[in-house]
Symmetry: D2
Subunit: 277 residues, 4 copies
């Protein structure tokens, strides 16, 4: 949470036309724009939240990127998970410091970055990807943002199962998640959180069908729409165009079949309210 830009930092630069650039500070390097150049050395050691100028005098504001900025800025060869979706995944799957989370389908690592940021400093993310070059790309993306220590990258087909067990949550971002539900239930703690991201309605139907009458509870299918407004106080209105669809999200809790405990003895006298205790 340093307030001063340091070598190795991922830094967000915003120009006068609100265009965003994220760079990693390296002594001796330079950031080239179509309006001039800024040397990294001019940034290193400076406090955040100030303007710098290119050698042609063009101003840029220098900021620490948010985790949303970082997740969107990963180098990618796959579709990324958008902040509107990943923020909700954190909430629904209870991802916080100390959590142990498995991710199936590392891809470029945009969700991995968000999960790692959320479980640090005491939790861990175990992420699976069968394509070595994709896993290597995600590894570089994680290292760039300094979150690699909270992540184990497996180059492994999840068909062969997960190495960890008793984890708090498993999230799948793969084409056919319904094929791996057995692997999921072997690795997930009793009562643990399951989630999946699916672009098409056919995939949602296939996953729901596979989960039907299985060890699942609290099954929920949602999608999130983010609508952005033009920030003009006298002419406030939604943007003309928006991202209309990223993916559907499916959530469920893993419930071990069979009852736990006999019927309780007759109720005591003192009542508690059903909605609050």
């Amino acid at each position: 949470m340093a307030r001063v830009a340091q070598a190795g930092d991922r830094v967000l630069l915003i120009d006068r036309r609100h265009k965003r650039h994220i760079i990693t500070l390296e002594p001796g390097k330079a950031f080239h724009t179509d309006r001039g150049v800024i040397s990294h050395d001019a940034l290193i050691g400076r406090p955040y939240g100030r303007q710098v100028h290119t050698h042609l005098g063009e101003p840029f504001t220098v900021l620490r990127p948010s985790i949303a900025d970082l997740a969107k800025a990963v180098r990618r060869t796959t579709q990324i998970v958008y902040p509107k979706d990943s923020g909700y995944i954190l909430m629904r799957m209870n991802v916080g410091a100390g959590a142990r989370i498995i991710e199936g389908g590392t891809g470029s690592g945009s969700l991995t970055v968000v999960l790692a940021h959320a479980v640090m400093p005491t939790g861990h993310v175990y992420t699976y990807e069968r394509r070595p070059e994709m896993s290597a790309l995600a590894a570089r993306n994680l290292a760039k943002v300094g979150l690699d220590r909270y992540v184990t990258l497996h180059v492994r087909d999840i068909r062969d199962g997960f190495v960890e067990d008793d984890v708090d949550g498993i999230f799948l971002d793969v084409r056919e998640p319904w094929l791996y539900l057995e692997q999921v239930t072997r690795a997930l703690s009793s009562g643990g959180f399951f989630g999946a991201l699916l672009p098409t309605t056919n995939q949602v139907s296939a996953l729901l069908a596979a989960m039907h009458s299985g060890p699942w509870c609290d099954v929920d299918v949602v999608e999130l729409l983010l609508r952005r407004y033009k920030p003009n106080p006298e002419r406030l209105r939604p943007e003309d165009r928006m991202v209309a669809h990223t993916a559907f999200l499916v959530f469920a809790r893993y419930v071990i079949s069979g009852s736990s405990g006999a019927a309780p003895s007759p109720p005591p006298q003192e009542h508690t309210l059903s909605d609050g205790g």
Copy 2:
């Protein structure tokens, strides 16, 4: 992250009709439903993710609630912040372990719960509320979920300024946030994250007008829509009705006016790409 229900735990019970109940386990107490009674003692010591039955044989699934469940279940006398919004706030304001965050307008504490969960174990939330009884309610809500140690509750009008300074982010959920921008900039670190939640378009316009030509950058106005689907694989369709509006969210970065550093010396030879460095 205990896997076994313990006295003092907030526990989620889901019945056959998918109705949700959150209770706090207390030895000797009982959970009364319209289909019979479950004694807390029958739950304490049991693993999560199993079913229990009332004395009339009705099954309930016993789960650890997610942070989304907890935030929605606070005892409240005010409008709560919904998980779709609070998850996105975490992402945009970079709220993670170690962050120091000020919240203006504690209300019932539903967002406070989420912020505390996100900054633990090394960060802290400072929350302001001028109504003592409201602050006391939020304190009880935080204690119930075991997050009170990460939160300082101030009973204080934010008109009088914030006690802390150099914090990472400030989020305002008050009726007229535009009145307190000076207080915000005195307490916020250079480059820090500002956010506000506003139900009406008039409030958004008023806040944007007050921020105009002030020390703000990257101003963004959004709203999130959550659409839920009926989880029926053969008849997949959105729910008939949905929550159509909770609030607009305004985000910005605090930028100290004036430049930091002179124009850099002529650019070095080695190039870096503007979008990745």
Copy 3:
């Protein structure tokens, strides 16, 4: 378009709490409310756009209902087609005065009312319903709004085909429209408009699959969301809740396979623009 209420008119009455009532004026009858009674005779002969009072002094505004009001007010035992959807159907299927339109699945007749209003005075709607009691209900609904002369109601299973042919458009609001595409193409003019209303994604997939590689062009799947705002100038904001889903709409044009005409002779000199002619 009479400006004075007449016996037999469908009349819209709006009370102080914005509640809407639609009645048919009949001499000697009375409209009973929980705030008193209005005799129909007090309304007959009065100009529209005025207030009347119950015998207890409660004011009601008297208006001619719009076609949207009428379509929503049909007596129904089935799901109706909402104005947001039926207005778009008119636009996309080119329903105007003089058009001959087949509707498969009369139901309660809410869409039939809209179609009849749009094709009058020179067009006609042919609507099919296999349940006699449903067709009779729709007939009464059409008579009530004075549009029955523009509609032929068939009590007939569309599996047995349509009686008319060479119609301008065919719209199906039935559970399995993909079963009747042959019947559709026998009755539809070359180039004619096809439309269908489907609640679930599975139905949309099934219809698209059946249309695939068939005589269809310009296939389009849409849904419309209507968001209502609280009309308060100082506190403008969307309503808290909304209808999140009524149905998906599928549109297509019927194209007779095989080419019409040989390749044209070499182009003449004078050019025309491709987007405007």
Copy 4:
């Protein structure tokens, strides 16, 4: 409703990549594409709903355009009214054959085309535009689609009032509709339909404020969102991007203040239901 393409027809041509072209057939002319040329003479006299080929063999499907196609294809120098909005305007303002409608703000005439199509053959549209060149453009757009006989184009500032009176409905698509409410009420029939299209929330607030405590009833503010799906039966999903905002629509009924008729005499015996009569 001719089934055969004729000289003067507006014709829709769709290519293999689903691109749409609208042209007016003129003997001796040619339609030039990047895949070859089609002579208009090869189209004139041919039935609709067939394919033709360019001299290079590229197929195009030939269709009569819908009113939605025509409204979107007007030559324009202003923002057009989208079919999703104009279809709903027809429903809410009861625009049908025989209606007399005033439009304030002709613009390029895209809504004028839709209104004319809906009121024909017995109604009429009176449209006002103060910029002569804009009115002339709309006149040409109306003539092209053969609807000019149902429209009177006034080149006149609506500040000076409308020429007609006692019309069924008035729709304003102008920047500051709140300035012309007096002109509206002088021209609108008692109980008539008022509507307005407004891009920004500030305009909606200003109009609502001006209507407050005026002769208005049943005031309603809505917006319509059209979501399009990729028509792939095995991979059904919403399009990636959508038009997120066109405009807000405000509707109201004009009510002449003061009561019409005394309180009715005591109610007769026979009851009618308040929701159906």
